[in-house]
Amino acid sequence: MLGKNASLSPERQTWVIDALEDQGLGARVREVWQYRRILRFFSAKSVQALYRKTYLGPWWILIRTLVPLGVGSFVFGSVMNVPSAGVPYFLFFLIGQVPWNCFDGPLIRGSRGIEVNRDLLTKLYVPRIILPMGQMSAGLVEPVIIVLVMIASLVYYRVYDNVWYVPLRVELLACVASVLLVMVFAFSLSLWTSVWQARARDVRFAVRYVLAFWMMFTPVIYPLSTVPANLRWLMNLNPMTAPIETFRWGMLPGLEHSWGWFGYAVGVTLVTLAAGVWHFARTEAITMDKM
């Protein structure tokens, strides 16, 4: 740790190595801010790791994102006839995938934050909370691609079917809020999972596992209105339900959603975040020692 009284004069460098004076939350946040440039390094590293050592290079990411979109919308829309809130199922599917992928990808990547930087961590100090944060960036590549596909398909429907499905209105801001919310939620959860994953291998399988089934219990590929009315509160207890329904409500006119449940999701996220920072701060030193 570079202490407060470290001076970096051109002639002589003095390094003062001391223990953290202040372990509190404020000190943590300040420290992350001081090291913000290294966050960029970790972000770039994690994005490169997506396609490094593959034959197809960056094309690989594109294929990996686009093929499941096509296949998923065909199977769920054409074969299973899942209802789609009055828009073509493909569009409905894409709209659901955007906020879900802003959660799913960052959480999977963020969980690996400490694990993948193991060799680096044993050699030098960085505020560890930066690691899940930087690693999360890799998970944001897919949602960006999906948004681009969504815009392209909107243009397609405008040209060929002469309908513009997503009007420009104030409610679009709710979409931004939902996306931010799920990203913060993913970060808060990765504060727990990245620590566990550095310790046990199966956390990695478990995270993917839980996420695959979490998605099924979240109205991503189907609208919440498919669920019987007396069970909707149960679905809404899942803090991912409200952001996704709100995102859809902001995009497509004539849908329903509840700000009350959105508030609940915000509450759950804030509690998870606070508890996550506390858990991370408490366990990081022990975890590093055990590595």
Partner: protein
């Protein structure tokens, strides 16, 4: 008594590989056991994963696709329908997963002692059979439950059921054929394993496991039949329950394709294994 050891080069070729695999067959159990140990070392839940892995997804999928989204199931209880489809799909997918990792997982063994490498690919698939056994057990329980509840036997109980067995064998042979290629590639390229997972999840959606083939819009159905797994899965369900359709021509084509691919795979494996091992 003195033992004479003769060190000679191995006779190359696909046939010799097969003969050798048979000679070393007793190593199979050892390799399977090793694979399982390696997979679950340093995990918290350990062996429990063996049970969670196959059973948890089936239950959740049955709730979402059967109860909530009301996907069709050819008149069977959806859970039973899904379970049958999952049994046959997983024979293919899990063995392919394990087979692909065979050479990469056993690197330390390969660099120390000689053994037929093709045996690694086959032996590494044995955990998939453990998985199959578990699911067949659950299937039998579910079958008994639904038969008693509805007062009718769902199985067809005649000689046509042998087709289900044939489908099972075919699914395994197909994954073996693919593994002959993918285990070599997986040894050279790390991302084959991750790519395989993603390929399999897309393939799973395109195979009538979650839904019956009859629910696919007619204009797309012929395309679906190009997928060998679709035919294998449909034949399996037709053989077990007599629901869906039987496609004799497509099944014959698939079987011929599997035999061809397996032969090609063995030849490919026999020709490249030495180079793959030496090059790393």
């Amino acid at each position: 008594m003195t033992q004479r050891w003769e060190v000679t080069p191995r006779y190359p070729g696909a046939g010799a590989t097969l003969v050798e695999v048979w000679q070393y067959r007793r190593l199979m159990g050892f390799i399977g056991d090793r694979a399982l140990r390696k997979q679950y070392r340093r995990t918290v839940l350990g062996w429990l994963w063996l049970f969670i892995n196959p059973l948890f997804p089936i239950a959740l999928r049955a709730v979402i696709f059967g109860a909530l989204l009301g996907v069709g199931s050819n008149g069977l209880p959806y859970f039973l329908f899904l379970l049958a489809g999952t049994v046959i799909w997983d024979v293919f997918a899990t063995s392919l997963n394990w087979g692909t990792r065979a050479l990469e997982m056993n690197r330390d063994l390969t660099s120390q002692i000689y053994h037929p490498r093709a045996l690694l690919t086959i032996g590494n698939m044995t955990p998939a059979f453990l998985n199959l056994g578990l699911k067949v057990g659950v299937f039998a329980l579910a079958l008994a439950y639904y038969s008693i509840r509805d007062g009718r036997g769902y199985l067809r109980g005649d000689w046509s059921m042998l087709w289900a067995l044939a489908a099972l064998v075919l699914a395994f042979l197909l994954s073996l054929a693919f593994s002959m290629f993918t285990s070599i590639w997986g040894e050279r390229l790390r991302d084959i394993r991750f790519g395989l997972g993603q390929l399999l999840s897309v393939w799973y959606l395109l195979t009538p496991v979650l839904y019956p083939l009859s629910q696919v819009p007619p204009e797309h159905r012929d395309w679906m039949l190009l997928n060998p797994l679709a035919i294998i899965v449909e034949t399996f369900k037709w053989g077990l329950f007599g629901v869906g359709e039987f496609y004799p021509n497509a099944l014959g084509g698939t079987a011929a394709g599997v035999v061809l691919l397996l032969t090609g795979g063995l030849i490919y494996f026999a020709r490249t294994e030495a180079r793959t091992i030496a090059e790393r």
